[in-house]
């Protein structure tokens, strides 16, 4: 049925239902490109959330999103500027306007910020307040490292952060979790959200742009066969930018980020199976448990707001030459289940990447799962070089894994991101190392061999010479770390 909503031609059975602060919102006529931030500011006149960058990098638009997952309602931070409206079904959006009590009393997070002089120009402040709030809900007595981590996704240009860190350390002196409105209402809200869960797939057309929110994996797979040119959107941390920055029209779109079947995590004795819509935040504790050196690497990827919504399948699927998970999964000998309709095939993660913008995937095929074999004997070293330590795109990322028998290396994998058009193993260099002692003389040969594996380019992140030099140096560093049994980092632990 065609109708006109907000001056737009809409043909839809699609209603997006979610809670915004205290209110149930039932929205007709939503477009696939509509962002949450625009909705908050332009439709609801909630001006607290700010647009600082429109690409999920500055955090001024941070809100909390509550969702029921595995039976419990959890609130996490995310960037509203690149959050697309059709992804909001059955969620609870909490903005900065919700924090103050009805009588105007500041929330403990807000009180702490005021008393610590945590704001100057105030533009980043609502986002910072929301990040600190989200972190405080998880951990009421954070360490300095915890606080730094919870602020990885927020830029402030005025304060130098000291007063904000002070505020984060003192929130609990201004109030306790038990008095928090959001937590008090959590049981009711949980039921409210369960009631909103999709009973049927929802299909909408707005301004001749079609989008589908499938209710199940089964229906998604079917829709994708019918719409083989559809763009798949999960966390929208990449596609969001096509919209806000490239002003792209995407049509049709299938929103898959909330499909429970794609969020499954299974660990058996041989391997970890991760649904493709598992987020970075969900993946990190599982992988870190089995591969401890992965932990820090994960915290070098974006900030909480992105890690909470960005998915591992999305990071692989968009096939960036510098996507941080691809080298990691290749280094861990990971495999991918690709599915098309009911057909499935399993390929190695490294075989997914063919060339720049070319992947081993056919129309209507999608990443269903990623499998990581468990291997207690694996030595794993993870490195990320970037201009800024946190929340930066890699200049070079490097994952080195190997096993050792009689002090000699075997099954060596040296995987690099940022060194070529795709994340790739340094096969010539691996050949040098395989079957040899890991000593300084072999490192020299390996460093030489690296030149036949890669011809990096120069760009705004670094020159080709630096990329090559640092890649070589990392092999040497790995050797020293391996032999000294310690991790050598200038960077502080998170």
């Amino acid at each position: 049925m065609q109708k006109s909503i907000n001056n737009r031609i809409v043909d839809s059975n699609s209603v997006v239902r979610f809670y915004l602060n205290g209110d149930l919102i039932e929205l007709e006529g939503v477009g696939a490109r509509d962002t949450l931030l625009d909705y908050l500011r332009l439709n609801k006149s909630l001006m607290g959330s700010k647009e600082g960058c429109g690409e999920g990098d500055c955090g001024a638009c941070t809100v909390l999103v509550g969702r029921v997952q595995s039976g419990s309602l959890e609130y996490k931070t995310m960037n509203s500027c690149i959050c697309l409206m059709p992804t909001l079904n059955a969620s609870h959006i909490v903005t900065v306007e919700n924090l103050r009590a009805l009588d105007g009393t500041l929330h403990p997070v807000q009180r702490a910020m005021v008393n610590s002089h945590g704001s100057q120009c105030g533009f980043c402040t609502p986002g910072i307040v929301m990040s600190l709030y989200g972190a405080w809900l998880q951990l009421i007595e954070p360490t300095y490292g915890n606080i730094e981590k919870s602020l990885q996704g927020n830029l402030c240009r005025c304060t130098g952060y000291g007063p904000i860190i002070e505020a984060a350390q003192s929130i609990s002196t201004y109030g306790s979790l038990s008095e928090d409105k959001l937590l008090q209402e959590q049981p009711t809200m949980k039921n409210n959200l369960i009631d909103l869960e999709l009973r049927q797939s929802s299909i909408g057309t707005c301004e001749s742009s079609k989008f589908i929110v499938p209710k199940s994996l089964q229906s998604f797979s079917k829709f994708f066969l019918e719409h083989e040119d559809a763009t798949l959107v999960a966390g929208a941390t990449d596609v969001g930018l096509w919209i806000t920055k490239h002003l792209a029209t995407i049509n049709p779109v299938i929103f898959i980020g909330n499909l429970k079947e794609l969020k499954n995590i299974e660990v058996n004795k041989d391997q970890i199976n991760l649904g493709s819509c598992v987020t970075y935040s969900q993946c990190q504790p599982i992988l870190s448990k089995h591969f401890p050196t992965v932990n820090e690497y994960f915290f070098r990827i974006a900030g909480d707001q992105i890690r909470n919504v960005g998915t591992i399948g999305g990071n692989i699927g968009n096939a960036s030459p510098i996507g941080d998970l691809a080298p990691l999964f290749i280094g861990l000998s990971g495999t991918i289940t690709l599915r098309r309709g009911e057909d499935r095939r399993i390929i190695a993660v490294e075989d997914f990447f063919v060339d720049y913008n070319v992947q081993n995937i056919v129309k209507s095929e999608f990443i269903e799962k990623i499998h990581i074999p468990l291997n207690e004997n694996l030595f794993l070293f993870t490195y990320k070089i970037s201009k800024r330590r946190d929340e930066d795109i890699s200049t070079v990322s490097a994952i080195f894994s190997f096993e050792v028998l009689d002090e000699k290396l075997f099954n060596v994998r040296l995987v690099f991101g940022g060194m070529g058009p795709i994340p790739k193993r340094a096969k010539h260099t691996e050949d040098i190392l395989n079957g040899n002692f890991f000593d300084t003389s072999i490192v020299k040969l390996a460093q030489l061999a690296l030149e036949s594996d890669f011809q990096p380019i120069s760009d705004m992140r670094a020159t080709k010479n630096y990329r090559m030099q640092v890649a070589k140096n990392l092999i040497q560093k790995c050797q020293l770390e391996y032999n000294s049994n310690e991790r050598i980092k200038v960077n502080r632990d998170v």
Binding site: M113, C121, L155, P163, L480, K489
Partner: protein, 782 residues
């Protein structure tokens, strides 16, 4: 412990005014609640439209065709216009040079230059339409960097300045040691969190009101009226607050205010123009990058005999403020050091890049980097601790106190600041430990450095050093305060309100500071050059004194008391034979028909500057400070971390210690970003490629040193009669971050033990640090 607050507790006598305020920022509760209103948050009248800009995609060329038909045809587009449609002057040069078109006419001078404007029903439609233009260019040669500009004749956007002192040729010839060298110093994007934005509302009688995120409402008023062909009295500009400025909204907001005004007047409705972050970073000016070349002579003790420096700056396509910026760079090469013979010259070079502009420090930081580089060169040459070289060369008494611009330094507290910080920070002990560490550790190198700052306060354009204020007292005793300064987060309104509150000893809640408004205080100067509190504070005090005089007159008439005995305490006017509640006094004044509104004015005394002669007293006084930074670098990757920083900084008698500490800490971290991770990068086509936070990396919370001690030099008083003997604080702390750069140089050069002169250009990214280490090591081994 990472912040030290030295909040004074000394008791103040009843009749003395206690200015020290501990109030948090006046908007802080609104900031944390999301209710502080910025321009983009102002509710729009029905039917408002949105403007967006079409930008050039060519670094230098002649427009051969401009087809805007697709732009016009997009549904929702209402209006499209180019330079031809500007009724007044197509120019927004802030210095009247007529070299900065609002919209390019025939020639495009940089990639990202505004060419046309689209007005549409929504911002998204306007943005989308702006990309549908078909423009062809006849490409011309372009110059995007300093070296190319120099190789092509070095066209300047503003005249060079030469500062001369003594006989530099002789000094260089006769000095026992002589070194020539150069250092590259990168630019910096302001990255104010709130991007450029303006909203214009047309009114009756051709009048318009512009809400602009600007540090300089009066200039916006002038530019808008000039472009529209209106008189200034037809244009009102209002600024409640900015989401950060840092100099990036001193002149750069003019363009967007003007374009929104043009669009509003053409379409007779409210029009907002808010830039996307990427476009903002591409089309607005930045901190100038410099190459500093020096030729220095000195003796075995490290004492400087002569300094010959040339500073070349990338200014971009127009002059903007590049003249004064490069002038100020020259004024700060000396930093805290006496140059008996000096010749300092500036070359503000024209390039086909965005026109660079004011940025916290206004060229001073770049000049100071060259000065500190000279110290490092001497230290390396003599294999001495750079701090020793600094101490040998500090300004002294009489003849040793004259700057290259012939102003005598009379308030020098650098020696005391340095020695106190050296002691508190255990500099010597730590430095020795670090040198030992660097000898043995295979994986890391550390560095430590103590660098001072002396920063000249006053606009070098002398006429800018004036300010006005307007105070109303209403009959209920509440006070409405207006002044010419703008609030960009620096706490100016908080300080101004606290001055009034302190003078009448009223709670600060009695005083409301209004938005800055050109119709209340006219002909204001930019809130810049750290001058906001100095200038406006005195103007506010001037108005308060006028009001006090009038109120005192009433008390004297009624109670036959002596004016001199009257003071204000706890909400009362107190005098020898009684006291009266402030609001009752005000009511009485009203009934006696005494004017309860007063304007205030202030101009900085004593200053003068003759640019042609390179001589005068450009600065009313100097602010001082020093920082001690310790860093670690990774031998394999060049990555670094700043581990500890100690700061001792001079703000005279602080007006608000929390706000001043905030300025020091924030300024330091911003300076640290400039010198470490913040890198601007242009591709071969002359296009800036670092134009978003994804590619341009300002410091994060985790970049901040975990040990960070900041103290105010609470013994310092301004020798000059500034507001409560305070000192300016906006810019000086920025340059404290030079300590980080020097510490990185020490680490990367293996404690200066390498055999080549180590060079570390700025920003010291991991790549540059690794390069410096490799050069130091490889060449040392040879």
């Amino acid at each position: 412990m990472f912040r030290v607050r030295t909040v004074k507790t000394e008791k103040v006598k009843d009749n003395k005014i206690n200015f020290i305020s501990h109030n948090p920022h006046e908007s802080s509760e609104k900031h944390v609640s999301g209710s502080a209103q910025y321009v983009d948050d102002i509710p729009l009248p029905a039917g408002s439209l949105h403007a967006y800009i079409g930008f050039s995609e060519c670094a230098h060329g002649l427009i051969t065709s401009l087809d805007l038909s697709d732009v016009r045809e997009l549904r929702g587009v209402i209006d499209v216009f180019t330079a031809n449609s500007i009724p007044g002057n197509n120019d927004i040069s802030p210095t009247g040079k007529n070299d900065e078109p609002i919209l390019a006419e025939n020639e495009v001078l940089f990639w990202g230059q505004p060419i046309f404007v689209v007005v549409a029903k929504t911002r998204n439609i306007a943005r989308k339409a702006a990309r549908l233009a078909k423009v062809t260019y006849d490409d011309l040669d372009f110059i995007s960097d300093i070296r190319t500009a120099e190789a092509n004749g070095g066209v300047l956007v503003a005249p060079s300045l030469e500062l001369k002192n003594g006989n530099v040729e002789n000094a260089l010839k006769e000095a026992p040691r002589r070194i020539k060298g150069e250092i590259e110093i990168g630019g910096q994007d302001h990255f104010y969190l709130e991007g450029q934005v303006a909203l214009t509302l047309p009114g009756e009688d051709n009048d318009i009101t512009v809400f602009s995120s600007t540090q300089h409402p009066s200039e916006v008023q002038h530019m808008v009226s000039q472009a529209l062909g209106l008189s200034s009295h037809s244009v009102k500009v209002e600024v409640r607050r900015m989401g950060g400025g840092f100099g990036g909204k001193e002149t750069q907001s003019n363009q967007f205010a003007v374009l929104s005004a043009l669009a509003a007047v053409r379409n007779n409705c409210a029009v907002k123009l808010r830039l996307d972050r990427d476009d903002d970073m591409i089309c607005t000016g930045k901190r100038h990058d410099f190459i500093g070349r020096y030729d220095i002579g000195f003796d075995q003790t490290g004492k400087i005999w002569g300094v010959d420096v040339q500073l070349s700056a990338r200014c971009g396509f127009s002059s903007d403020l590049s003249g004064p910026v490069t002038d100020r760079a020259l004024f700060h090469i000396d930093n805290c050091y006496f140059f008996p013979n000096a010749r300092l010259r500036s070359f503000p070079l024209k390039t086909n890049t965005v026109s660079n502009t004011a940025f916290r420090g206004f060229g001073g930081p770049q000049g100071m980097m060259v000065g500190e580089r000279i110290i490092q060169e001497i230290a390396f040459d003599l294999q001495k601790d750079p701090l020793e070289i600094r101490k040998v060369n500090l300004y002294g008494k009489k003849n040793m106190a004259v700057t290259p611009y012939h102003q005598t330094v009379t308030d020098n507290i650098a020696p005391r600041i340095i020695s106190e910080l050296e002691e508190k920070g255990k500099y010597k002990e730590r430095r020795e430990k670090i040198i030992a560490f660097n000898k043995t550790n295979k994986f890391f190198k550390k560095g430590i450095a103590l660098t001072p700052v002396k920063f000249g306060i006053s606009f070098t354009a002398t006429w800018y050093n004036q300010a006005g204020s307007l105070i109303h007292i209403y009959t209920d005793g509440s006070i409405y305060l207006n002044h010419g300064g703008t609030e960009m987060g620096q706490g100016l309104h908080t300080k101004m309100a606290s001055i009034v509150a302190a003078e009448f000893d009223l709670p600060v809640s009695n005083i409301k500071v209004s938005a800055t408004d050109t119709s209340k205080v006219p002909n204001t100067s930019a809130t810049a050059a750290s001058s906001g509190s100095d200038l406006n504070g005195m103007a506010v005090l001037n108005a308060v004194n006028t009001l006090k005089m009038r109120l005192s007159g009433i008390i004297c008439d009624l109670y036959h008391t002596d004016k001199k005995t009257i003071y204000y305490k706890n909400g009362y006017a107190v005098f020898d034979c009684g006291k009266i509640k402030f609001e009752n006094l005000v009511k009485m004044a009203y009934e006696k028909r005494v004017q309860l509104s007063a304007a205030g004015f202030y101009k900085t005394p004593k200053i003068h500057w003759n640019r042609d002669k390179g001589s005068g007293r450009p600065f009313y006084y100097f602010s001082y400070g020093a920082a001690l930074a310790e860093v670690t670098v990774d031998e394999f990757t060049g990555e670094s971390s700043v581990d500890r920083v100690d700061i001792l900084h001079d703000v005279g008698e602080s007006l608000n210690e929390h706000i001043d500490l905030g300025q020091i800490e924030g300024g330091f971290i911003q300076g640290m970003g400039w010198l470490t991770n913040e890198e601007l990068w242009w591709n071969k086509e002359g296009q800036l490629k670092t134009h978003a936070p994804s590619t341009y990396k300002i410091p994060l919370a985790s970049d901040r040193p975990r040990i960070f001690n900041i103290e105010l030099a609470n013994w310092s008083k301004n020798k000059e009669r500034t507001i409560k003997r305070s000192k300016a604080v906006g810019e000086p702390p920025f340059m404290l971050a030079i300590s980080v750069h020097e510490a990185l140089l020490m680490a990367a050069s293996y404690s200066y033990t390498c055999k080549v002169r180590p060079t570390l250009n700025s920003p010291a990214t991991a790549e540059k640090v690794l390069e410096c280490m490799r050069n130091s090591r490889i060449k040392s081994l040879e």
